[in-house]
Symmetry: C2
Subunit: 335 residues, 2 copies
DNA sequence: ATGAAAGCGCTAACAC
DNA sequence: GTGTTAGCGCTTTCAT
């Protein structure tokens, strides 16, 4: 607008300044090995003098690569924020950037996906277990490559990378049984979330092996507050289960505080487990027993699928095992 | 690569299909009011048939607008994750996107800033109180507009939006005095962080008014663990202060758990305060007294500076007051 | 209201 | 090793 000369220096300007052709300038910044060292120096000096910075937009238009990966993730979730951070770091190491499309509710996803298409991203990570199937189908295309992250519902529709939710839930269930639980309940986040369904299935199956029933309670949301409120519902019933399995760590932390507020001791009266392995779950005030997701591994697998041409585009499915981390919330001294 | 016809439909293809010129197709998607309704319909149908999506890269090259705002933020921080979410949401409402440059350590910032320049962003939000001054100076330019977010050190160098750190710290200090504290300590995150310095200054000044000394302890990092460890140092000394002020919520939560692990009761033996107003600070297990930052307001102010041409480019400085939120950690029943 | 034509700033053959 | 040339897919005058 206000004629900042320094703001619009192009390779032509640098070429003129350095007394070479525009193409040479371009080469210095994209494939320097093709330019004589002396020339390179001249060009770089001229560029520095003028404050030239290559224009990634123009580069992308021509090269059909943006070096940008998009991520569609739910806005308010501790888990996803951790995942995002991991992606952003890894991408930065590869000279790529992360374009963030965060959405508040499912309706919002629609418009996020709209803009995704315009940006000609090099890849797209589709997160959130609440993205609806029709959205998934819509994104089903080889180019740019789309990978579903921790979203089991995408199985068969999109390449998928996920922690082994079922096995993890099974492990947690076995663990609470080993710790003496004879009755249990599973507090899910949102029943339509595919992660929730699979985790519940795993837990219920393992408990059934021990003749333990496992009612499903829906908290209605993914967050702490939902867990806190769900605890009240557990306390309302007559008696309470020996153990409560939370569908996610964030939820489980709310559960713990809710149960404690209600006068129960965790783990004295009730064992509690989570799922995800958030940093907060390890905080001394909670020290939650949980299934730690190997986020770095999941992220690397995802990027591999996005960028390794070797990876067949077809129905890749990487299911990575998590690790049970035992905390105080299931460490009960029993007689 | 593998000749996906659907993947590379251009306005020319649509023009051919619809029997109009390429320019008309372009107009339908950027300034439809200039095209007859009948023509619009033809074009849209043709586009739908072919699966055409306008190419934002090409648009940007020509229009010199990317509709993308960059954010340079530290990777592992609860506070910044919240801020990011707020930005992303607001931007989405305006049809803009957020390009994320997260960095782990200060050295990393350098390379983030390098790539920032190439992307010709519409604006840039520079976060983190540990970005060094030389970085700030480097980014000092009207185009794209750069705004420092909660980074007092940028004062005078860059347009700046921040919560009133000094007043907030003063309020917290007055609060603990009112709650009976006669000795105190301030546990900062990283002493070189400008937010830390200002918060400490505010707290120390207010306490001094009451003839209370306020030693500064540096935790060395921004996170929970640093706070947890710092608590041990407080417990080591002979006796402990009546109140400990944490430089941030995340740190304060670690402090609380550390103090409790060490056998002290919070708030019974020690009052604790934080700063930021994170969701976690309100969790029932902590219920931390803190200074709540009006993140939405700060974000809106920032975007206003980035996009309102009205906002003079000069030394804008928006210092927004926060709100003290009293929690259990300073609610002591005294005789 | 629509078409023709000229770029935006780069990359990548292709010549020399 | 370097210059010339032709686009990438749009937006935007300028004609008509």
């Amino acid at each position: 607008m206000d004629g900042q000369p320094a703001a619009r220096v192009t390779s032509h300007d640098v070429a003129a300044e350095a007394g070479v052709s525009q193409a040479t300038v371009a080469r210095v910044f994209s494939s320097p090995e093709k330019v004589a060292l002396a020339t390179q120096e001249q060009v770089r000096e001229a560029a520095a003098r003028l404050g030239y910075v290559p224009n990634a937009i123009a580069r992308s238009l021509k090269s059909q690569r943006t070096d940008v990966v998009g991520a569609v993730v739910p806005a308010r979730s501790e888990y996803w924020q951790n995942v995002l951070t991991a992606f952003s770091r890894r991408l930065a190491e590869q000279g790529k950037q992360l374009l963030l499309f965060s959405f508040v509710d499912a309706d919002h996803v629609e418009s996020a996906l709209d803009s995704v298409e315009q940006y000609r991203l090099d890849g797209l990570v589709l997160a959130s277990s609440t993205i609806r199937l029709e959205h998934l189908v819509r994104m089903q295309r080889p180019n740019p490559r789309v990978v579903a992250f921790n979203q089991p519902a995408a199985s068969g529709l999109l390449p998928l990378v996920t922690v082994d939710n079922e096995a993890g839930a099974r492990d947690l269930a076995e663990h609470i049984v080993a710790r003496g639980a004879r009755t249990a309940a599973f507090v899910g986040t949102v029943a339509t979330a595919s992660t929730d369904q699979i985790r519940y299935r795993g837990a219920a199956a393992a408990l059934a092996d021990h003749q333990i029933a496992c009612p499903y309670l829906e908290a209605g949301a993914f967050n702490y507050d939902a867990g806190y409120k769900a605890a009240a519902r557990i306390l309302d019933g007559d008696g309470h289960p020996d153990a409560v399995m939370g569908g996610s760590d964030e939820l489980a932390l709310g559960l713990i505080d809710g149960l404690r507020t209600g006068g129960l001791d965790v783990p004295g009266d009730v064992l509690v487990t989570g799922f995800d392995g958030l940093p907060q779950a390890s905080w001394a005030g909670y020290d939650l027993t949980t299934l730690v997701q190997p986020i770095e591994v999941l992220v690397d697998e995802t990027l591999a699928i996005l960028f390794d041409s070797a990876a067949a585009v077809a129905n890749i499915e990487r299911i990575v095992p998590g690790t049970l981390r035992e905390g105080k919330t299931t460490r009960r001294d029993r007689g």
